[in-house]
Amino acid sequence: MSRKKDANKMTYRQIISVLKHSVREYKKPSIITIFFVVLEALCECVIPYVMSLLLNYLSDQQKLASVSSDFMNVVLIYSAILLGLAIFSFVSGLLAGRFAARASTGFAANVRKDLFYKIQTFSFNNIDRFSVSSLVTRQTTDITYVQMCFQMLIRIVIRAPLMLIFSLVMAIVMAAYISWIFAIVIPILAVTFIIVTFTSVPIFNRVFPKYDKLNESIEENVRGIRTVKTYHREDYEKAKFSKASENIRDDFVKAERLLALTNPLLSFCMYLSMTLIIFFGSMAIIDPNVSFEIGQLSAMITYSAQILSSLMMISMVLVMISMSTVSMRRVCEVLIEVPTITNPSDPIFEVSDGSIDFENVSFKYKKEAEKYALADINLHIASGQTVGIIGGTGSSKSTLVNLISRFYDTTEGSVKVGGVDVRNYDIRTLRENVSMVLQKNVLFSGTIKENLLWGNKKATDEDIKEACHIAQADTFVESFPDKYETMILQGGTNVSGGQKQRLCIARAIIKKPKVLIMDDSTSAVDTKTDAFIRMGLKSTLPNTTKIIIAQRLSSVQEADFIIVMDDGKINGMGTHDELLANNDLYRDIYNIQNRIGGDNNA
């Protein structure tokens, strides 16, 4: 939480200093873009000037009784200049557009990549701090805003002020006489925009959460449509929705009406300056003491339009940037996150055996947490032993085993594998030797074979078959028409829960690890198959230390010893018979499972 606060305080300077690292190879296109944007803006300001010169010349000629002899030449010269400028501006515009696209999409791709790569370095601790959905949003929606800001930065942020300054300068140079008009109109415009923005933003801030809620309620309906239809609540839901929708409608109308003021207000300023320019301009034309011609008048009109529209652009950009700030911060938050677990400087690349020792281990998930998730754990498991862990929800069973593969670091004490503190191992070496079947396990989209190769890239088809056989997955896999080439859909929705668990076990044992940890990995597998898996493990991986977390006592009954966890502490340890004799908690679980029939269908 404290980190989040820090991130909210992150200044624009900090945001820029984090994000600028992602520009990298797109620095050149960005600079080129800026260069051409400047050229284009210059052209766009010079072109009206030349046009006004041409117009002036034409109206001058009109005043004369007969045109001068070089009339066509002069016209052609002006035209040639204009043509040249137009081509130049065309090319600059084209290049600016292309390079801007190159730079902004490249930058966005880099940010996405940096984010994704950064997240890959996260430890479980880092992952826990951000939820899955927030990590997804940061990599998708938030990045879109960052890209938009960047594109605006190299195009509009450069262009609009330049246009403003160029046009103002040209206007003053051409007709200092009437350029005071801008001194009146610009402040009016600025003030009205500020007022509109500041009044509408709070309304939008109020409406958007309501709008999100409305969408949430739609999502609930889509997800819960069976419930809605079962209880025949369609009309009830419709009425509820209408009410909510009408409720936000009124707010939206208010905000939209405020926003709808911008256009008339801008036009008001525009028209005001036009009227003033035309009036004072034509007065100047007929004033013999002032040299002001019809061409300048028409150019002044163009400049006034450019000045006002650049002002509007600037205000729009400011609004957009302030709206995207949250997204930028959220992206930066991930980028500046420091991985809490990193490889030691002089890592050990060899795990000698599968013995595990916990020495005075205490652990809490957050430094500031008061309660320890694990307290004073002392535990010694010899290589090759099978150990069961049992305990209710929240008794820290998973936490205990997560420390073995160094998904988290202990707060106090040390965890040793093969007699060496896990913090001294190369992480990859440790995790290749300590294989874990996680409780919330997932398969990835791809073939079954591809999924299994995660465990060991070099595994042969024979290895795959063998692992599947041990995990009792070979029969069902081979019953699929495509066998090991069967595609797993995203989220593994096309295999049943039990099948998924068995594939995950196969994926973990294909590594031939020194330690195998199964965190409630056979809950959806029936007891008989569960027993076959344990038998298979025993015979094929006799030297591997096996740690089994389970809800069912039958899964751990024949382990060398069973650990009973309760509230982050070891409540008891021993064989099934010993615990049955002298551990109340164990006996309690045993009785419940047998009274309600548990899973004694084996």
Binding site: Q62, M72, E246, I286, S445, G597
Partner: protein, 634 residues
Amino acid sequence: MPNTKKRSPLLRIIKDYIKKHPLAFAVSAICVLISAVGNIAAPLTLSNITDLVSASNLATMGTEAVRSAIISSVLILAGCYIIALIGMFTYSQVTAVAGQKYMDDLRKDIFTHMEDLPISYFDKNDKGDIMSIYINDVDTVRQLIIQSLNTIMICAFTSLVSFVLMILSSVYLWLIVIVGAIIMLLVTRHVGGHSSRNFIKQQQMIGGQEGFIEEMMVGLKVIKSFCHEEESKASFDQINNKLQDVSYKANSYANILMPILGNIGNLLYVLVAIVGCLFFYFRVTNLSVLYGMDILSLGVIVSFLPMIRQFTANVSEVANQINSIALAIGGCSRVCSLLDETPEVDNGYVTLVRAKYDEKHNIVECDEKEQTIWAWKHPHSATHDVTYTLLQGDIRMFNVDFGYVPDKIVLHDVSLYAKPGQKVAFVGATGAGKTTITNLLNRFYDIADGKIRYDGININKIKKGDLRNSLGMVLQDTSLFTGTIMDNIRYGKLNATDEECIAAAKLANADSFITRLPQGYNTMLTNDGANLSQGQRQLLSIARAAVNNPPVLILDEATSSIDTRTEKIVTEGMDNLMKGRTVFVIAHRLSTIRNSNVIIVLDHGKIIERGTHEDLLDQKGVYYQLYTGAFELE
């Protein structure tokens, strides 16, 4: 909204908008035209002033007369501007209000229609895709109605006026402009087309990348535990590079459209200037309504040139809307395709009502509060009498065939019965048809062949709402709605009292965990009850069914692992709920169904064995093998 297909969805939505807000549309259309006056007034005034201040005119009229003429001309301009501003103010306010109201109409139309769609629609369509209609597609319609439509109307009208003025000034010069306009149109079609196509492609790829990222984030801990970071980075790079390519194309086409159009405008200006001056120089006769057949004068050229700028600027502005139009076309077509889905039809006429016994032990219809039983209500048209028959919960299926798609039958010739109060269990592998059977009972899907009778009534004749309400369901995944726990239990019977809800919660074994929550029954649930455990959610689902108090229950056991104590509590809750009702159980664990009156073993949509637990064990068939663990359930 009319159910006419084959019409362009964009036009259909626009028409629908006009139909629902005709006044707003008419007023804003008129005001749009009025506001365009402002755009036209300036060049006209300018050309008028150009004439006034010309040297020859100054000489004939005298400076003072010219000055007053200028003043009146500027006053007329200011007047035009005021009218234009009023028009602009009116139409932007009117469309803001009508547009937002229409958004509300549209959302409600979509939602109402969606609620009436059959379950098959939700099975076929991804949740994300449905949500995207509400979140993204409706917004493209908003953009269209509140912004694009007006901008296009103004710019089209303004350019039309300058177009007409130009043709009136000089047909020859106008011809040049026409050529330029055609080129601009072609360029817009080409470049804009490329840009829209790539933007749509980019949208799809973003969707794909989101899917990938989501998968990788969900599996992040697995990635870490297999040290699979490098591989996932490599797959990410592939997707990311492809996205970058498409998004580069989309953006670069979009970025260059304006410079191209703007400079075609500049070129046109130069071209007209040259040609005009050549005409003047060689004393070519003009062809003009305003200036007659005289020689093309410089004055004509001077007033013609600013009009070109105005014209091309407006054409560019219209072209600028091309991406939002392309997006709106996509959005409208998805909105329309949802609205065109055929809703569930309900031809049922038999009414099932909540009822109670009165003092004389007759069944009478009653308020939900006093209800104890369900009854079948049949009015007699001849006597105007209404008689009530007790709904007992007798379900029979006769030779039922069914397929989710017409030619792929997944249930073959299924016949079964459940007498009132009996417990029927379905056993079988994933995909054997257990859930399908229960989906037919409450008519989430309609059978292809055969008959299903409920207390002797063909279920097709029963009003769908009544049928479903009297068939309670406890699903594997409990859907909770934003609201308090009490509200969520009350979902089973909307006017249940608090006491009833609490009684139901007690029956379901949910009371103890609820009362332990700090706010008890008033605890707010948000985000699908994310703060509750799987077991707790299931208890709420049981309580919800209990408060509904249906004669028939369909139970889908949860497969996910809940700890032993919670499981015991849930099982007890379910047992309480089942008492005195006809129950269908979709079993995932054999241990809980041994006491069923009949166990039905399904395989590939056929009933292969049926009987009591003991019968089936004696048969030594599939059930026996399942029970002894030689076969697996899942």
